[in-house]
Subunit: 439 residues, 2 copies
Amino acid sequence: MKSYLTMSKEELQTEIAALKKEYSKFQSMELELDMSRGKPCKDQLDLSMGLMDALTSGADLCCEDGTDCRNYGVLGGIEEAKVLIGDMMENNPDNILIYGNSSLNVMYDQISRSFTHGVMGNTPWCQLDKVKWLCPVPGYDRHFGITEYFGIEMIPVPMSTEGPDMDTIEKLVAEDEAIKGIWCVPKYSNPQGYSYSDETVRRFARLKPAAKDFRIYWDNAYGIHHLYEDHQDYLIEILAECKRAGNPDIVYKFASTSKITFPGSGIAALATSPNNLEDIKNQLKHQTIGYDKVNQLRHVRFFKDIHGMVEHMKKHAGIIRPKFEAVEEIFEENLQGLDIACWTKPNGGYFISFDGLDGTAKEIVDRAKKAGVKLTPAGSTWPYHKDPHDSNIRIAPTYPPLEDLRTASRLFTVCVRLVSAQHLLDNYDERANITAPEQ
Amino acid sequence: MKSYLTMSKEELQTEIAALKKEYSKFQSMELELDMSRGKPCKDQLDLSMGLMDALTSGADLCCEDGTDCRNYGVLGGIEEAKVLIGDMMENNPDNILIYGNSSLNVMYDQISRSFTHGVMGNTPWCQLDKVKWLCPVPGYDRHFGITEYFGIEMIPVPMSTEGPDMDTIEKLVAEDEAIKGIWCVPKYSNPQGYSYSDETVRRFARLKPAAKDFRIYWDNAYGIHHLYEDHQDYLIEILAECKRAGNPDIVYKFASTSKITFPGSGIAALATSPNNLEDIKNQLKHQTIGYDKVNQLRHVRFFKDIHGMVEHMKKHAGIIRPKFEAVEEIFEENLQGLDIACWTKPNGGYFISFDGLDGTAKEIVDRAKKAGVKLTPAGSTWPYHKDPHDSNIRIAPTYPPLEDLRTASRLFTVCVRLVSAQHLLDNYDERANITAPEQ
């Protein structure tokens, strides 16, 4: 296909006319499709229905150590759940706290507690004039939502295929004591699906922040969420690396079973150093008597061990891999060579990151919406919902059924082409300044 | 039996000698009993095993409105859970938010959020010099634990059989803008088992606090936890009363199924005014995507409706009523008429409140511990664990098996008599100043 960047005004006009016809065909289909959130689809949820039979009225709901999971107690989670989640997170069970159903809530609580009580004896953040946070971009909107809610100044840091720009991060954290944390989705990142390189992880573990209470918020949400058996990303385990680097307390690592069993009805966990664990538990004991141990036991009995979980994840991959491939195929078919878009091809996780021409993302999302396809709002992948390039769109292929997804993806590419062609026509004289998007 | 207060030195010495013998008999039994916490016993937990079969792998896990409980979403809880819990709390489902497994956590979050973000647009408490809280005493140690953790100055307010002293409360909240809340367990109070009188509730609803962000923390933990079918306490519903009084936003009401199904694996809820709900939801959306809907649905399917829950509570009563009666019987048998103790005889809830002579509670608890019976530490029922009279002990009869409970209760009365007799002997010359305890 011919690059839109080299098209004449007339060619663009012809293209636009053809695309408008195509677009109105989609409109007449009265679609109602949702590609906005990283939600598992029904088939994926069905994979975990056995969870409902893992504990029956005839079952013994006691742990191996005799703890009756039905009663109060055991603040940090039952031992067998720590073992299972420890294997999932590649951490020693002793470094793990099992929480309730939401790792986002665990992160929120960490930040909230840092505001009201401080981190390991340091000044509570609510007593500071300014708290700042590093935000690799594009990133996860709900992360940014928490820091925004707490009035934390968010500083974008560019991402590459290797992870966030470590030169910038090293410099900023060393200089500015107000910087207290960084959001990371280190494996199959949200939204690009990138995994941090070995060097990136090593440099994270060796950060020398000015703030003693600086913590890396390492949200390993997609640690075992591979799409392929034969090409998987590997990530250096951060806790071990921090310990080796003599920097054991610098990281909180989060994970959950939300996209393994049922989102909202799974178990979340935090892995961190003994010092951090002690600090957290001393707080947590005022907040709750304990989390849902029955559900912890349910997960343990269902999976039995990490092998059970890995086999389970293969079934997830079997369902969502064709969806990722369908999107990629349609994008290639309809957008390749036009010089108006690029997109990532992740080996795991829940998203594809799409970049269009600068100044087109909002309009593309609006166009899609008017034809019945809901996308994550443009800007969501940036702090304060402000993408300075207005170019990035997060594509979430998992939720719609495959055929719907194909339709939605086709419509999406029509929207991209239409909006881009119009944009190039409107800015024809400045065309020399417009360059093809690159991840 | 003869009052200890009228005994001569010699009589007390004889009594002490006899009691020491009795005490050493208990010591030789090497008991290991726990009357310290309000925990359901195994038989009670067994009542809810049907919960484990309420959802099976063959079940449809969708709500009546089509919401798939297995996936993300629905921040405030599923509609059928709101209806069930609404009936339990005597509130309109529209006034209810369903949370996770712990109402204590909900209360903690309310206070934490008030510190970081403020209540309905008022100044966040972390920016105030001083925050104060009213604490009816004796009260619930975990309530006091939260306010202590946040550095809130706790002001004790005396309880009577009618509830807390409203004259004091009305005066204090009207005068002092730093007072932001009060802990209430209005029905079958922890630890006395008192229920607030109609007048008390009416006066609560009509409080005129100086602080606009003052809230009543109405922890209706034992709303349907009756011991008897024929004599039950009734409590005026506070939200409706506040609305009638033109004071709709003054109360947060909390409840959970912790002592209905499984503690730690149930569902918690908050009922409050539309203004408060909006304020809370605007915050909550940053904290979590939603709570465990599968567990909400599980509870709804298990109980079907409030009638199912009421019938279920009768079974609980059938198990724990004999335990309360055993304690009361043994206390009467061994302590009545001695003028060294008094105790409450609740119609519901989880506790009996015991008062000994001033200055004896700590020693009684220590004595019991040394003979293998664990009680709630003396002082726990007061803010900062400081009972100025050192007289109050919370008795939790539900957890031990009935026979163990009888043994523990007998030992307890021996400890009470021994410590009291010794105390009277040691203070024989000031005996005129020592008066019989009264609730």
